[in-house]
Subunit: 133 residues, 2 copies
């Protein structure tokens, strides 16, 4: 996406830590895959490279989705909410696996009578995803 | 939903402010409607009443979605992500309007060459929604 100027970035309201939540949604199935956080830099990188790039709060570093697993997310389109403080990003999910547990979506647990119940199968074993073995 | 015990609530990782982001998704269209925040109390109220109930960070109070506009959200199902710190909630959106601007979704602005462009029509004028006139 060619953007004329940086005005689009100035309209975003990052929080006091300089972050904004980004919801990744599969552009075809409509499944919500995950929510992660972006800072100004990772957002700009996402636009420039068309690969979803987040800010890892636990590791305090830029994190290209799929850099370890190979399960990259390619940018399809980006929406901003009315308050300017949440992003919704439509993605092509490589391998159909967004979750580090090897499932399509990180939201694989559903609330039932007995609490959170796993409602979605593992597509690929995480041991196979994260090792070269 | 009848829940056997409170274990489901203990498995949720609220942030340091006692809040968790909740993504509301239309259960039929799959549209992501909004993201708002819940605390323990508003989440329990959501389960008990089946009406989506959030915590307003700006007003610092419990907020039943639609209490002013009439555009309530009814709970259909609830998912928790792998980290236990984000909720995805499928809802029936009354009036088909989740946004205070009178649109279906709060994510009505899409990034294009010229920046954020309004990509979704107003269904009902906010002046008609928020006054009794």
């Amino acid at each position: 996406m060619k953007l004329k100027d940086k005005k689009w970035l100035q309209e975003i309201r990052f929080n006091e830590e300089g972050l904004i939540p980004a919801i990744a949604q599969d552009h075809q199935s409509g499944r919500v895959l995950m929510l992660a956080w972006m800072n100004r830099n990772s957002l700009q990188t996402t636009i420039d490279t068309k690969k979803l790039t987040y800010w890892s709060r636990s590791r305090q570093k830029i994190w290209v989705k799929g850099e370890e697993s190979g399960n990259e997310q390619n940018l399809v389109s980006m929406q901003l909410d009315c308050d300017g403080d949440v992003l919704l990003i439509k993605v092509k999910q490589k391998g159909n696996i967004a979750c580090h547990t090897g499932r399509n979506s990180c939201f694989y647990r559903e609330l039932g009578e007995n609490g959170w119940e796993t409602a979605e199968p593992v597509i690929k074993n995480p041991e196979e995803i994260y090792t070269n073995g």
